[in-house]
């Protein structure tokens, strides 16, 4: 029973939303779902935020390894919550915009959140370099094709590509790296993209049907709790 009702809910909701595409009076139900989802996600956050607090508080109380950092995490969480929920230093008071300039919430966002996020993102420059290095040691035909294609596209997007092959006569322009890069993007790349996209669509259809029909239900847990 504890699993039958959820399976039934999945079936009804999934089937109705598939059919809603074909019936104009209910065609926006899919959009309504995203609003319901957003509201459910707030309640779910009580569980997630609670878990964050519990794990780090436990770590700090039991003086486990790196417990000091757990205290920092909890403090960061609580200060941000207070700053945002009570709109600390907000010119408009509690009725003002939560991200109003000059508010503590906005300042923490600007001076903590933004640089940390941007720098983490920027680390990709190093990681992409090390991944390129890995790709340079191509081990098989597939990896070699990947390497050659990426190298041509990389060169083709820079003036170096034109500089190196700009002398090639127009009749052989396909060997001109920028032209070759454009050709790769518009021909073989397009073919691969299409195969991947069609495959994904069919995979999603098949998996969605397994979920809606209750063939796949591991996410619901067990009955005998």
């Amino acid at each position: 029973m504890k699993r039958k009702i959820p399976v039934l809910i999945t079936f009804v909701v999934g089937s109705v939303l598939i059919l809603s595409v074909f019936f104009p009076p209910i065609e926006t139900w899919g959009e309504d779902f995203s609003i319901f989802f957003d509201i459910i996600a707030v309640f779910a956050f009580f569980l997630g935020g609670g878990n964050l607090l519990r794990i780090h508080t436990k770590k700090a109380i039991k003086r486990q390894k790196d417990w000091g950092f757990s205290i920092v995490t909890v403090l960061g969480f609580i200060i941000m919550l207070i700053a945002g929920l009570f709109k600390v230093w907000n010119d408009g008071g509690i009725a003002g915009d939560v991200a109003a300039p000059g508010s503590l919430f906005q300042m923490m966002y600007n001076w903590i959140f933004t640089p940390l996020g941007a720098t983490m993102y920027a680390l990709l420059a190093f990681f992409v370099a090390s991944a390129s290095y890995r790709a340079f040691r191509a081990k098989n035909v597939g990896a070699t094709i990947l390497l050659v294609a990426s190298f041509i596209i990389l060169l083709g997007r820079t003036p170096l590509g034109t500089y190196v092959t700009g002398w090639i006569p127009k009749s052989l322009s396909i060997f001109n790296i920028p032209d070759l890069a454009i050709w790769i993007m518009t021909a073989p790349n397009l073919a691969g993209q299409r195969a991947i996209m069609i495959g994904i669509a069919l995979g999603v259809v098949s998996m969605s049907l397994r979920l809606i029909l209750g063939v796949e239900r591991t996410y619901l847990g067990v009955d005998n709790e």
Partner: protein
Amino acid sequence: MSWEQTFGIWLAAAFTLGIVSFLYRDNIFYKVCEAIFVGSSAGYWFVTYFWDNLYRKFYLQAFDPVSPHIAPWVGFILGVLMLTRLFGAKIAWLSRWPLAFIIGATAGVYMMFYFVSNAMLQIGASIKPVFVGSFGDIVSNVLIAAGTFCGLVYFFFSKEHKGVFGGAARVGIWFLMVTFGASFGYTVMSRMSLMLGRLDFLFGDWLRLIS
């Protein structure tokens, strides 16, 4: 520049260096940055969800003095059911209802969305005459059609990749590799510019060595 701004820039520079130090090895500066990042960002998102979702999408809609909406209550009730997990195993199973609702809705919405945008439109775009234009155009058109076909052969699950079928699948994976290579090469430049952005902050906004 105000003291808040100066303080903020120094703080941001310290965080930038702390995160970058991870490239050398895990260290205390990175751990501090990580702890602050995790805690403050979790708080940030809760605050954002609270005001955007609970207040704006639920409260303002459900308690609209002119025309209160009933629909947000569905989300609210399902959300409350989520919290039954906090009150012991006897009623915790009720939290599966909102999960079942989400899974069913996601499956329904995504199934049609992907089918239209990824399958129908891509198949439609593939149906084109191949022997048109210059010799180069013809080669490209044939490659696109053949590459898509072979790529799909690669994804076949119910037939062994052997013989002619296996050959087509192998050609298919080569096309996929070209796609991956193209995407890889295309992204490298943009990733480099991210690092330049941080260097610009460090040497411009913070150290003022460049204007």
